[in-house]
Symmetry: C2
Subunit: 681 residues, 2 copies
């Protein structure tokens, strides 16, 4: 199966670039930060803009609420970071939110978190790439003019890279991330300097526009609702915080502490950048609207469909550094790159989460294998397909995609924090050491506040965004949940069916004798080899079996059989329709009927070929026969392979593909050595 479906992929993707296996390298903090933080840090590229966008609905006057919303986001960020510092200490295995929820709240909660995260990975790709394209577009107009095509192009590129198995290197992440962070800080510092010290009048390119409020003079409940919606949008800055909790094993020792420190650093950076950008946007009079074509006006006239609204970060950069200046272009490029790296994070996380879920039998078992290329490939293609679909449907518009985004994150935040509270409760029930108890109570307090706050945000997000698109994310979660439940049920049912009887194995009806049958179509090397092997097996009886598809061939076979003096009896079956399968099946069944306690061993010579098209030309009858024989009880089917010369090509290919590097191997950390070692019992 795998061979054929894999071919188109292989043609397109080629061989793995790197042949060195994932080393046993662990990440120092300065590398871990960019590896894990590209996702959360990059969200400051779009989160501030989303806040302004929503506020604009109530008109320009609502913009003065933006600092308050920034404060709320900062508080939330600190809460979440503080909470997750508990998580990484208590659950350092890399199972993340799924493990926390599963362990403390049961499999249903775990599965809910898992579904939420899977949806989230899809949206991370869609949102990050769309936003990256928009940022790139602020410097290169062509890109934004062909938004959807460019976004799909980037998705395809990332997909191919991950399918090839490009080794994720710390440096690859470090440079753009640090350039991005440095760029944003330079912008904030320089902007503050110009504003405060020089007293420059920095003006964003949109500073002269007026906003036509959709709902002017909003007040009371409606205003509160709008502010909550703006806050929800600002929460986009929190997406990706949980990534570190999945990556603890990749840190240098002391793993948990280093992870916690990195988490704190990341939170601090994100918050500073978020607030700085909001402040600069206010200082430079950035104007953004949900429907810029309609609601942004210049000299009393709407800007019209041709207007492209640049992201807030690029508008601010333009105001601070000047349009087209070197620093402006660098920052735009770094922003886009960091956003694409954030998307790449999802390419790594999706199959990793898949392998954890496979371990719990919520997904096909083979996904469990670490670095199984085929399993990973399927995950990557699924992720890319879903993200591409969303990008296509939503026109690569990050603002519309963000509506779907935050639900999943906060579902997993909330459940994970509730799980942590339970975790502490459980520990407190047995812990007697007062110092430790105090510590636990404090940690529980943090997680309780985290659970409460993130739960509140979840409700707010659900209420304010449900009709704007959150329902799509919920639907996606339900689909994942239902599929995984069904798979688990199936595995459970099968496990029950095949469970070994409780008494000793001798209770089973033991077959008494083996009757071996070697299938022969002609006397050639594969057939002779199969005969030779069959003789070695010393079964109770052995015969060669041929199907009379062509009378002349059968006569020739008989004659050569005699001539060579082969000491195995040759049985020939009639086949009026030139079929092979049916006569053999019928014959095997008749053998079983004669002596039901015997086992029939059918030995089939098989050609091993090197190219997929050769599969079409060989072994088809053998394959079909094998498939049918397996349905017959009391039969075992043995393939005796004969390697044709062309099989050498396939062997070489397989050897090369063994060295494939699974996406996300760096952030997953080195494999733990299995605790039991190779030995005989």
């Amino acid at each position: 199966m795998s061979k054929l479906t894999d071919v188109p992929k292989r043609i397109l993707i080629g061989r793995a670039l790197r042949s060195d296996r994932l080393g046993e390298t662990l990440l120092p903090k300065r590398v871990a930060l960019p590896v894990f933080a590209s996702d959360p840090l990059s969200s400051v590229a779009y989160a501030p803009g989303e806040v302004l966008l929503v506020l604009s609905i109530a008109g320009l006057s609502a913009y003065h609420f933006s600092p308050w919303i920034a404060v709320a986001v900062v508080v939330l960020m600190f809460t979440v970071v503080a909470s997750y510092r508990q998580n990484v200490r208590e659950y350092p295995s890399g199972g993340g939110d799924y493990e926390v929820a599963n362990t403390n709240l049961g499999p249903k909660a775990g599965l809910t978190v898992a579904s939420a995260l899977l949806v989230d990975y899809v949206l991370t790709v869609a949102v990050s790439i769309s936003s990256g394209i928009e940022n790139l577009g602020s410097a290169v107009p062509f890109v934004v003019e062909n938004k959807v095509a460019c976004a799909i192009g980037v998705i395809v590129l990332l997909t191919l890279m991950n399918l090839r198995g490009v080794k994720e290197s710390g440096t690859l992440f470090a440079i753009p991330t640090y350039v991005f962070v440095a760029g944003v800080f330079t912008m904030i510092a320089w902007g503050a300097f110009r504003e405060v010290v020089l007293g420059d009048d920095m003006r964003a390119p949109t500073a002269d526009f007026e906003i036509k409020p959709e709902h002017p003079g909003l007040a009371g409940f409606a205003l509160v609702f709008l502010l909550l919606r703006a806050f929800s949008s600002g929460c986009a800055a929190l997406t990706g915080v949980e990534a570190i909790s999945n990556g603890v094993p990749a840190f240098r020792k002391p793993k948990s502490r280093n992870a916690a420190t990195t988490l704190a650093m990341m939170g601090l950076l994100a918050v500073t950048m978020f607030c700085g950008i909001i402040a600069l946007a206010a200082a430079t009079d950035v104007r953004m609207a949900e429907n810029p074509a309609k609601d942004l006006m210049h000299d009393g006239a709407p800007l019209g469909a041709g207007y492209v609204q640049d992201p807030v970060i690029s508008q601010v950069a333009e105001a601070v550094f000047g349009h087209g200046s070197f620093l402006f272009v660098i920052l735009a490029a770094a922003t886009a790159l960091v956003l694409f790296l954030a998307a790449n994070t999802a390419y790594n996380g999706f199959p990793l989460l898949g392998s954890i879920l496979a371990q719990d039998r919520y997904l096909p078992r083979q996904l469990h294998t670490r670095g199984d290329r085929l399993a990973f490939s399927n995950g990557i293609v699924l992720l890319a397909g879903a993200a591409g679909l969303l990008v296509g449907i939503y026109g690569a518009d990050s603002t519309r995609l963000i509506q779907l985004y935050i639900v999943g994150v906060f579902v997993s935040f909330t459940l994970s924090q509730i799980g942590m509270v339970r975790h502490w409760n459980r520990l407190l029930a047995t812990e007697r050491d007062q110092a430790k108890r105090r510590h636990m109570v404090r940690s529980r307090g943090i997680n309780t506040f985290g659970a409460f706050f993130t739960g509140l945000v979840l409700v707010v997000v659900l209420v304010t965004k449900f009709t704007h698109g959150a329902w799509v994310a919920l639907l996606g979660m339900c689909i994942f949940y239902a599929t995984m439940t069904a798979i688990r049920k199936h595995y459970d049912r099968v496990a029950e069916e095949i469970a070994a009887p409780d008494a000793s194995a001798d209770d089973m009806v033991r077959p008494s004798r083996v009757h071996s049958v070697v299938l022969i179509s002609k006397i050639h090397r594969p057939a002779l080899r199969a005969l030779g092997y069959a003789k070695l097996m010393r079964s109770d009886s052995l015969e060669a079996l041929s199907v009379n598809v062509d009378a002349a061939d059968t006569r020739a076979l008989r004659e050569e059989w005699e001539r060579r003096g082969i000491d195995v009896p040759l049985k020939v079956l009639d086949s009026p329709y030139r079929e092979v399968t049916r006569p053999v099946i019928d014959y095997v069944k008749s053998l079983r009927k004669e002596s039901p306690r015997d086992v029939v061993s059918v030995i089939i010579p098989e050609y091993v070929v090197g190219h997929w098209y050769e599969h079409v030309l060989h072994n088809q009858s053998a394959l079909r026969l094998k498939g049918r024989l397996l349905f017959t009880p009391g039969v075992m089917v043995t393939s005796v392979p004969y390697q044709l010369q062309s099989s050498e090509a396939a062997r070489k290919r397989a050897r090369k593909r063994q060295n494939w590097v699974a996406p996300g191997s760096v952030r997953r950390g080195p494999a733990e050595r299995a605790k039991d070692s190779s030995s005989h019992t």
Copy 2:
């Protein structure tokens, strides 16, 4: 492989309708005629029109050449029928033109004929269905307004019918064919009666139109060329004549004589109908043009793009029976139905020819199996796809498709007749009986004339139609030829590679011992069964092998192994990356290195499941491991199946699918019993 790819087909197509196998029924002449003649007879529905169309290029005055062209077609038809009466007598096995060319002119000629016939089958479907749609459209305007969609619809319908395996019954063919023949004869008789006896002025619906000649006053060489082109188009009436030569085994005895008689009857019917329609068209002043929108004028103005040119047969029927009259509608329906049956003929012929070619290893071997559903299905889908593509490209316009059509037929006519001449020469070289010699010389004369005439027509067709589309058909032939040559070469190369050494089989290096390894992941019924079977095989050594994917699971396995006191040593391999394949392969290789003359028998417990989606959930690791093990020399791989309850569903499905009736079984005749019967040597 077959399982998964088959699923979409199975969902769409369902189970075979009929469960009774092809009976040992032979066809009486009155049934054989419609079964085999629907294709050649139906071509009179479009051939006469094509003649008029081409003549119209030189203007209305050229129409008076139409009787002469009819005469030429009649002479050609008699020649071809007389020639093929020799073929069916000398080659009654059903191999048809391919066999004649292959036997007498060598494999290259045979393959050329085969390629020509394969292209021809595709075109039979495309042309017949397009023409059928046009005929139906003359009674039901909706059909002709959605020509391409309707034609594709009919192709899909026929494809599904043939994939399901609807049993071809004589009656199914007899009724529409006889209604069609009777209808056309009634039309001719009634038309002649009205014209000659009643002296009615029958006028076709197009009788009042003028024709604007594209090349008025054509004369000399140009006129001859045009007449030859018109004749080429008229030759479309001959397509399908060769069908009977493939169907001799289906006739009642004396097979060859009955086939020859049927051939003569068919020729007579076709010729009479062809001439009758041409005559009536002349009598009722039918006007047809290659570009009716431009070249047909009414009251001096062109008819314009909205005009739909009805087929000549329906125009004549309208003139004779009256528009919308009962007989007119019946004839239109019968014509369309016969044309669709003609298309169905190709659905039967294509896989049949494929199985003959597979016998000579020009196509994948499994196609050889008579009634192999999967093999047939692939052929049918290929045929339908190619025909659908042509219909799409050429807008279901029978006139444009016919340009491609006739090349293939005449390639096979010509080569087959040349082959027959060689055949007689060979026989004459040894035959001494004067009466027989006289007979042979006469037959050779017929075939020589046939070869000469059809060869001439082939040249004419190539010259007059090459740029009009014949090149497409030639290209198709080249593609088939190249593919089949490559396949044959591959099989030959492999056959050489695997040929058994000429000395006695004992020359081969014999392995000395078998080391058996049972793969165990958990102790469950499938594993216990595999262990039990492995013990029965009494190999020289036996051990159980497990891969330590999860330390806890491995410990549990070890404990249970002890507890149950299983008397097979358990070996556990380490796997840092949770892989299964690589450690096992490495271990097996190390065993082989230790004792290179030993054979390693790897025994894998396998789940047998009933649904395709279960395949995704089970056996994936086993399958991959098996695939990789086969590349390792000195290894045999044994599957010990464990039938899960759900496998019952698949078994039932397989049993039902056994009873599938292969398309074309009626025209292929009953299977010959293989001459050697079931026995032991």
